[in-house]
Symmetry: D2
Amino acid sequence: MNTFGRIFKISIFGESHGPAVGVTIDGVKPGLSLQLDDFTHDISRRKSGAKGTTPRIEDDVPEIISGWFNGFTTGAPLTIIFRNANTQSGDYERIKDLPRPGHADFVAHQKFNGYNDYRGGGHFSGRLTLALVAAGVIAKKVIEPINVSANLISVGGSSDIEGKISKALESRDSVGGIVECIANNLPVGLGEPFFDSVESLISHIVFAVPAIKGIEFGSGFSAAAMTGSQHNDKFLDAQGRTSTNNAGGISGGITNGNELVFRVAVKPTSSIGIPQQTVNMVNGKTENLDIKGRHDACIALRVPVVIEAVTAIVLADLSEEL
Amino acid sequence: MNTFGRIFKISIFGESHGPAVGVTIDGVKPGLSLQLDDFTHDISRRKSGAKGTTPRIEDDVPEIISGWFNGFTTGAPLTIIFRNANTQSGDYERIKDLPRPGHADFVAHQKFNGYNDYRGGGHFSGRLTLALVAAGVIAKKVIEPINVSANLISVGGSSDIEGKISKALESRDSVGGIVECIANNLPVGLGEPFFDSVESLISHIVFAVPAIKGIEFGSGFSAAAMTGSQHNDKFLDAQGRTSTNNAGGISGGITNGNELVFRVAVKPTSSIGIPQQTVNMVNGKTENLDIKGRHDACIALRVPVVIEAVTAIVLADLSEEL
Amino acid sequence: MNTFGRIFKISIFGESHGPAVGVTIDGVKPGLSLQLDDFTHDISRRKSGAKGTTPRIEDDVPEIISGWFNGFTTGAPLTIIFRNANTQSGDYERIKDLPRPGHADFVAHQKFNGYNDYRGGGHFSGRLTLALVAAGVIAKKVIEPINVSANLISVGGSSDIEGKISKALESRDSVGGIVECIANNLPVGLGEPFFDSVESLISHIVFAVPAIKGIEFGSGFSAAAMTGSQHNDKFLDAQGRTSTNNAGGISGGITNGNELVFRVAVKPTSSIGIPQQTVNMVNGKTENLDIKGRHDACIALRVPVVIEAVTAIVLADLSEEL
Amino acid sequence: MNTFGRIFKISIFGESHGPAVGVTIDGVKPGLSLQLDDFTHDISRRKSGAKGTTPRIEDDVPEIISGWFNGFTTGAPLTIIFRNANTQSGDYERIKDLPRPGHADFVAHQKFNGYNDYRGGGHFSGRLTLALVAAGVIAKKVIEPINVSANLISVGGSSDIEGKISKALESRDSVGGIVECIANNLPVGLGEPFFDSVESLISHIVFAVPAIKGIEFGSGFSAAAMTGSQHNDKFLDAQGRTSTNNAGGISGGITNGNELVFRVAVKPTSSIGIPQQTVNMVNGKTENLDIKGRHDACIALRVPVVIEAVTAIVLADLSEEL
C-alpha cells in the first residue's frame, strides 16, 4: 500500500490536484535538529523551472503538523504536508475519458471503478515524489555521516544532455535518461540475506518512483557478459575493501563497506505535445489525443534528488536497526 | 527479514549444511489440491546435473509437515522442509577464515559476529532457493490461469549458450547470463501505486535471489535512449491492449492487461576453479584461495525456475487481495 | 508504532497542543459515499461539554486532504486532519518538570530524552482519540450492515452513573467506569486462529485507547469461576447460533455468528483538582503538584464512541479480507 | 495470520494430529548460547501428567532445524519442530460432523470450507502452545536480566485450587482459573504510545492463547470503581518508582520501571466427560455428543508457562528495538 519501512517508516498521501500531498514518518529518533529551511535545497532541486521541466511551478513550502517541537524532532510521527496551489484542473476535465498513453489513467479507472481522482494523474502523480523528497531530507539527517549523491549521467543515450533536451523540446517530444546513485561512508552490515537485502529494499522503493524502467547494482547488466574471474572483486584488506567494485558495495544483500553504486533507467515523459492515438473508455472508440496539460520534456532531470531521497530512506530504516 | 508478502506470505529458513532448508507459507487458501509429485517438475528444473551445474546432487524430496490434509491445503500455514543429505562440510572448514571473493562470507562474519554457519555459505546459500521454488509451486496453483514462464536468453553476452558454458568449464571459470520472464493471462488491476507497485514487489523478491545484478521491465534500460513518441504504447481497445509493450504490462505500478515482461541479469558464479586473492579475516594477511567446494559454472542455468517461482509468489499475494 | 491494520490500515499523528491531530487510512475501498457531515454525530459524542467532561471545547471540524473526490472515497489514502485551536499551553509550561501521577509525562520524558512535546501530554494525549473516531466513521461505512454499539454501563462501581459523577465533581476528584460494546450482524468467519484472533486484534487496539485497564470477552473473568458444563454454549442450529453466549461471539478467535460482546474497564481520569505528590525530574525533589489544566471528572463518559470506532476499525480490516 | 512481532518475530505452524508443530523465530541475535536441555524445564511445566491434566503424553523433544550452529544461535531464522507421536485420531473421525461446544470446530469448518484438519482441533489445538513455549525459552534468554513469572492464583473462583480440581474430576466436568504474571527488572521505556503500547502487544498475544477470556493490567477492572485520588500512583523518586502500582508497571503504554503485573482469566476446558447438545453440520439435526478424546479437567494448570512465554516474546521484541 502506501507505507514503506519497518523502523523508519514512511506513509505518503495526496493527489496532484487535491488539497495537498504529504508524508508521515514514524520512527524518527527524537532530538534531530530540524528547521523549515532544511527542506529548501532538495525541494528546489526537484522543482521545475529549468529548461526541459514543466512550467507548472508550485511554492512547495512544507508545513510540519506533528512530531516537531522547539526546533527538534520529538520521536512522535512527523507529518509534513504541501498544499497544492497552482492547479489547472480544467485541462484534465476535457480528457477524463481518454487515457493518456504511458500514464496510469487507464489502470486507475479500472482498478478504482472510476472513483479515482483523474485530475493530473491524481494519486498516481509524480507530485507525490515531493513527499518522498521531504522524507529524504529527514532520512539524510538520520544516516549522517553516510552521504548519498545521485546524478543524471545520460539523456537519450548520450552524455550530451543539453543537446538531447533541446532536440526533444523542439519536436514537442520528450526523452529518457539514466541516473546514477552513489552512497559513501557506509558501515559493513546493513541489510539482510534474502528479502531484506539492500538491493531488494532499494529496488522496491526506486520502482515506486514513477517512470523508472530498470535498476542495476555495481556491474549490473554487464555482469551477464562477464566471467567469474573478471567479476569477482579481490579483497585488499581485513576491512573488506576490494580492488574493483562489481558488487556495487553489496555482498549477499549486505553492505560490504565499499561504495554503494546503482543506476536507474528513466523513461521519456509520457505527456508529449504530439497528438497520440487512444481509446475512449466510455464508448470504446479510437480517438486522437492532444494533451494540453503542462509537463516536462525530460523528467529524468528532476529524478536525481528523488533517487537520493529514497536511498536515504532505505538506509535510515536499516541504520536504525543496527 | 526472512518473510515476504502480505496475504500469501512466505517465510524461509535453513542453511546449506544444516539439517534442512524450508518454507512456511501462510495465507494459502483452503482446498487447493496438492500432491508431493506436484513439486517434482520444478524441483528437477532447479536441480544440478546438467553440464555447467554443480556435481552436488541432493534428492530434494519435500516433506510437508503442516497445512496439508487428505490431499488438500487446509488454510493453515503450510510448511515444507527439505533435508540436507549430501553435504561435504569439510571442504569449508579449511577456508573458514578466508572469505571467498564474490560471496557473502565476509559480510556474514562481520554482521553475525562470527556466529554464522559458514559451511557452504550457511543461510546465504543458493540452496535456500529450493524453498522459494517449493513456494512457487503452490503460488502457481493459486494464480491459475495466470501462466509464468522464464527462460535463459543469453550467456556470456551471447545467445550461443552452449558454447559459452563449454568455454567456462574448460577454463575452470564461470559465466553470467540473462533470464527473461513473461506472465500471461493477467487481469487488469494487480498492484498499487507507489510502494506496492508490481515492479516494486517483483524486484524486491528477485533481488532476494542470489547472483542477480539488475532488473528491467518492458523497454527497460533502452527506454533511457528513447523519445516519448517512440516509447508510449498506443491503446488499441477499451480492454487496454496496446500496439507495443514498452510498459512491460505495467502502468503506474498496476497490471494493464498486456503481457508482463521483465529481464534479470545473473552474475557469473562466484566460486571458480581458479585461485583468487583474498584476506585472512583472523590475521589480516593476503592469501591465495583455491576453492575446492563443488559449484556451478553457470548458475544462470538454474535461475529461470526460481524467477518463475518468485514471480508467481508476488502474483499470488496480489491476486488474493482482489 | 502508530499504524494499525493490514488491509484497512490506519496511521495516527499529532499532539494535543501542536498544529493538528489526524489520521491516514490506507486501503479504503473506492466509491464509499462520504460527506463532512458524516463525522458530526460521532465527533459530538466524543466531545466534552456534558457534566463531568472537560471545559476545553474544540470545534473538531474535519478537513479531508486526500483520498476524497466528488463526494466519494477514491481508493487512495484518506487523510483527515483536525486543527488544534483552543490550547492553553501556558498551563503546562509551569509543570513541565513535574510528572503528573497517572499520566505518561515521566515515561515520555525518559523515552524521548526530553524532546517530547510535553504540553497537554503531547502525542500521548487523549486528543488523538479524535483521529480514531474519525477513522471509525469510515470503518462503520465499510462494515455495513454490521452494527457496533458501545455504552457506559457503570461508573464508580455503580449503575447510578449520574450520582457517582456528581460526587466526583464535588470533591474535585475523578471516577472510573465500565463500557460494554456489542456488534451485531456479523458473518461467521472473521478472524484467524492465534495471532489474528478477533480478541487479539480488538484488545490490541482497545489498549491503544488511553485509560483502559482491562478487557473481557463474553463471560470474561467470571469464566474463571465456572465449570465447563456451565460455560459451554449449546448449539441450536447449523448456522451456529447458541443458547447462551459465554463465548462472546468468538470461537477459536473467529466470529461464530452470535453477537460479539466485550467490556472494558476505564480508570478514573488521572488529572484531578486535588494536590498530589510528585518528584521534580530535574532536581529529584518531592513536590506537591496542583494541576490547573482542564480535564474530565469521568473520562469514561467519552470512551464509548472511541470503543465503537476501534472495534469498527478491526472489523473493517477483517471484512476486507473476506 | 500466524506471525507475531516486528524484530523478534515468531511464526507458528502445525496441527494437533499432523506430522509436527513448530515455530520459526526470525530476528534472534547471534551468539546466544543454546542447548536442547534449555527447553526441558519449560516444556515439562506445560506438559500434562499432573492431576487434572490430559492423559495424552507426548515426548515433546525439540528438533532445531535451522539457525543453530556449534551451540549458539547464528542470527539466521531459528526453526524448532516437535513431532506428534501419541495421536489417536480415530477418536475424532467419529465426531467430525459434530462441532464440540466451546471449541473452534464449527467456525473452522465454515471458514475453511471443510478442508480444515479436524482431528484434535487441527491448527486450532492448544498443542500449538508448545511452539509458543519453545519460542519463550529463546525470548527469556534475549531479555535477561528481565525475569518473567506466572502463577495460577485461583481455580473455580477459589484459592483452594486442589479442591476445585478434584471436584471437577469427580463430576467429569472441568473448571476455569486465573493466572497472574509478573515481570521484574524492566527498564523504563519499552513500548510505544497507542498501537504498540505494552498492554496492546501483551494482550494481542495473550488472546492468541486458547481459552483466555479476559486480561487486566495493574488495578484492572477494580479501577472502574475507584477515584483518581485512590488510583494515581504517587512518585517516590526520579527513577519513577511509585508508592502503589495500580498502573501495573505501564504508563502511557510504556514500561515505567515498576513491576509489570497482569492477570488473565482462563475458561474451563471445553472438552468434558458429560454428554452435551450439538448440531450435526451435515444434516442440521440436534444430537447428543459424548467426547471420548483425552483432555484436561483444568487447562489453567498448564497456562502459566505459556503466559510467561508470550510475555517474554513481547519483551524480546521491544528490547531489541532499544
